[in-house]
Symmetry: C2
Subunit: 230 residues, 2 copies
Amino acid sequence: MARKTISKKPTTAAARRRKASRPNLPERILDVAEELFGRVGYGGATTRAIASRARMNVGQLHYYFESKRAIFEAVVARHGTEVTERRRQLLQEAEARYPHGIVPLEVLIDALVRPLLMAEPRAGSQRRTSMQMHARLFTDPDDTASIVRADIYDETNALYVEAIQRALPNIPAKTLYWRYYFMMGAYVWTLLQPGRLESISQGHCDPADMETAIREIVPFVCAGLAAPVG
Amino acid sequence: MARKTISKKPTTAAARRRKASRPNLPERILDVAEELFGRVGYGGATTRAIASRARMNVGQLHYYFESKRAIFEAVVARHGTEVTERRRQLLQEAEARYPHGIVPLEVLIDALVRPLLMAEPRAGSQRRTSMQMHARLFTDPDDTASIVRADIYDETNALYVEAIQRALPNIPAKTLYWRYYFMMGAYVWTLLQPGRLESISQGHCDPADMETAIREIVPFVCAGLAAPVG
DNA sequence: GTCTATATGGGGATAGAC
DNA sequence: GTCTATCCCCATATAGAC
C-alpha cells in the first residue's frame, strides 16, 4: 500500500548505529497510531496528533506513509498478522495433541478467540483502550480497510472452519458458515462495545475482564455451533 | 440536542398548506443522511453532499440541525426508536399469547432480532446499503453516539433480559448477561459485515437474505443462551 | 421564521528548501 | 531523509436578505 520503499536494511556500520539509536520510525508511528485510533477512533485521530506523539512533524509522517488511511491499514495489517499467526500456531499444536487431528470444539474455540481477546496492549496503552482499538480495527472506517482485513484473516478462518467441521460432522456446511459468522460477531462485539455489557448487567459484569469473557463465550459459542439443525 | 426549536405545529390554514406541499424538511434531511451514512460511513458523508441530495444548501441544513454529529444522532435515534417500539410491541403480544407470560425462548429471540434485521429500507435505499447503514448506527463513529444508543435500547433490552430469565430460570444472572451481550454481537455483526459471510462460505451463503439469517440465528442464539453452565 | 452568502479555522496532503 | 510553508476541502459559525 505504501508508495515508497521503506527502511532498507542498513549495510554500513554508521547506518547500523543510526538505526539502533533511533530505531524504526515507521514502527513508532504505528504504535502511536494504534493507540490513538483506539482511543478516539479513526475520525478523531488527526495526523498532526499522531505526528506530534511520535515526536515528528506531519511532513515526516507522509514521508513514511502515503496517507492517513495507509497508516490505518498498516495498523490493521500488523495487528491482524499477529493474531492470525498465533491462531495458526495454537491450532497446529492442538491438532498435534489429539488423535487423528480431531480437536474438541471447546479447545478450537478457545484457540480461535484467545489470541484476539488477550492480545497484549502495546507499550503506552491501557488494556481498556487497547481492547477498543483492536475492536475498531474490525469496523472503522469503511470498505477498503475491510478488504485488507479479509485478506489477512480469511486463510486462518478457513482452517478453523475445516477443523470445526471435523469436530461437528453432522452440521450442514451452509448452516456452519452462518454459525461461524455469528460467532465472529459475538467475539468482536466483546471488544467493541464494553459499555453495553456494563449497562445490561447494571455493573455486575466487567467487560474488561477477558479471562471471564473467554470462560463465558466458549460454552456459548460451542452450544450455538452444535445446536440441533431445524 | 438541537439548538433551536424545530417545526412547531402549524396553526393557520396557510401554514398547514405550506407544510403539506413541502413536507418536513428535517425528515428529508434524515432520510438522505441515513442513506449516505450507510453507504459511505460517517466520515465519508459530507454535509455538502447531504444538503445537495436533500435539495438545499448547507446553511439550511444547519438551520435544522446544529451539527453533522447532531444529524447522525437524530438518525440513530429515529431508527432506534422504530426498532425498539416494534420490539416492545412484539414482546407484549407474545406475553399475552402464552400462559403466565412465559414465552418460549425461540419466540423471544425472533421478536428481538426481527425488528432490526428486517427493518424496511427507506425510499431510495437499496436493501444492502440499508443493512450496512443500520449496522453502522451501532458502531460509527465514537462514544457520544453510543450514549444516545444506550439510552434508546437499554430499556427494551432490560425487558428482554427479564423475559429470557423467565424462560431460562436455571442460568445465573451474570452468565445470562454475558450471553445476552454475545447475542447482540451476533445479530449486529450480521448487518455489519455481510462480506465476511460471503468469503467464509465462498459465496454459498447470501448475507442479504435476512429470512435465512433469522432462521439460522435463532437456533444458534437459543442454544448459546441455554448452554449448560460450567 | 426561512434561507443565502460568506467567513473562520481545522485538518489532510504536497512542494520544495535544506 | 527531514522539515516548513502552503494548498485546498470541509465542518461550522454568522450576518443579514426575504
